[in-house]
Structure formats: structure tokens, C-alpha cells
Symmetry: C2
Subunit: 134 residues, 2 copies
Amino acid sequence: MELKEAKDRFIHTWGTLSTQWGINRTMSQIHALLLLSDKALNADEIMEELQISRGNVNMNLRDLISWGLIFKQLIPGERKEYFVAEKDIWKVTRQISRERRRRELTPLLDAMNDIRTGLKDSEETRSLLKIVND
Amino acid sequence: MELKEAKDRFIHTWGTLSTQWGINRTMSQIHALLLLSDKALNADEIMEELQISRGNVNMNLRDLISWGLIFKQLIPGERKEYFVAEKDIWKVTRQISRERRRRELTPLLDAMNDIRTGLKDSEETRSLLKIVND
DNA sequence: AATAATTTTCAGAATTTTTTGAAAATTCAA
DNA sequence: TTGAATTTTCAAAAAATTCTGAAAATTATT
């Protein structure tokens, strides 16, 4: 297998599986592409490589940045913005866990808390409280 | 807050957040409903409670069973099938992790393995191998 | 200040996922 | 058996999500 083919397969697999984790396909394909690239890439290069629109690239790059998975890199003398991925796979994993907790688990726990404090105490509430308190 | 209201809120919150984790809303609402119910419920009761179709209930019940999160319970003298959820929240968590690993992580690792073994060795492959090997 | 390059936005289009509901299949009781 | 009760399937409809592309906004250059 050639390097190009291997990379394409990796990007494709990564993108397909991600949807099952609630992450959209393009976002993870861009992430994979940057993970595998040893140089920083700009929007046009990503569009070209993945055959997707500028708007799509732009939105997903910003998402990836907000997840702390990629970073802008300004290249002196270049007008365009370039992007690089965090390459340390363990940092990546930790960062994803941290963000998920912040974005999704915390709101759930808050909602549970609201329920707990708002709930009248009674014999009946036991099973609910047991679950909500864990 | 009344118990009924608290339960409804819990089910709703659970269902909303789940989509961000790649689990569909109905599946997690049914799960939440069964988690909170101290008696086993049948399809009609779930349809009624969540206002969804029979087909939808049926499919998602089977999904939940295949995830090991709920179980069929046959009630003597009853024709209908009843369902109960695993109530121990830690067992639930462990079960979800285990299933996700089996269903999603394993295929990813397999795909990576294919790439690794199929890849010609060369100077260029280093960065890819580094990621794939971790 | 004018203009050229680049990025961002977002309404509508395309795609994907979920849901419905009626028909088919299955199960059980008489 | 027969048929009534129940469960399962699945094509089509509905809903949700993602993507496009052109216009608007921003940023840098002359």
C-alpha cells in the first residue's frame, strides 16, 4: 500500500466512525488530515484534499479550535491562515474527554441537581433520588 | 416540584443530551423511563407515556437489549412482554463503555492495523506509523 | 481611501437519521 | 387447526443535521 492510499483510508475510517460518537464526519476528517500532515494547511488545501466547500471547512476548523484539537499558525509573509493539529495522541484523548465533560456531562449534572433540590421529599421520591444522587 | 414533573424533566434532559453522544433520543428516553420506573413496562405503556409509535418503541427496545441496558421480563399469566432496566448506575456505565469499545473502537483499531501491515516501510511513513501505532 | 485577498455567515439544498403506521410474521389460547 | 393478540418489519414521511456557495464582513496592501 502506498502512503497516499493509507492516509486516505485512515481519514475515511476516522470520519465514518466518528459519527457514531456524535462528531460530524467532516470535522473528524479535517482533524485526521491535519493529524497526518507534517506541514500546516490552509483552507484551500483542505477544500481541495477533501473536496468540500469553503463554508464547511471554515465552520469545522473553528469547531476543532474550540475543542482545542487544532491551532492556527501564522506563517510570516503569508496572508492565509494555516492550521496544525495537536499530534500527541494522548493529549488529544484527554482534551476530548475534558471538553465532553464540560459541554455535556456538566449540564446533565446541573439538570439533575435542579431536579434534586426542587423535589419535595417523600417516600415515593426514593428511587429517583437514588439515581439522581449517584 | 412534584415527582411526576421531576421524572418528566429527567427523561427529557436525558434524551436531549444523549444525541450529542451519538445515541438517539428515543432510545435514551425509553431507557430513562425504565430507569425511573419501579415496575416493568410493556410496549403500550411506553408508547402512551412517551407519545411515540409502536414501531419506534419496538426497535429501540431491541437496541437497548442488545446494549445490555434493559431486559425482558415475562410476567406469569400476562401475554405481553415487559421490560426492566438495569438499575445499578455503575453497571450501566461499565456496560456502555464495554459496548462502545466492542462496536466502535475495535473496528477502528482493526482498520489501523490493516493500514499498518499494508504499508510499505519508508522514510515518509514515519509520522503516520507513529499515530497508528499508539 | 480604494481595492484586493481572505474569512465568515447563513439561507436554502442535500443528505442522513429517525419515526410512523400498516402489513406481515409470530405466538399463544381455545 | 383457527383466530385473536402481540411483536416485528420496512417503505415512505418527517425531522434533524450537514453542506454549499454566494454575499457580507473583515483584514491587509498599495
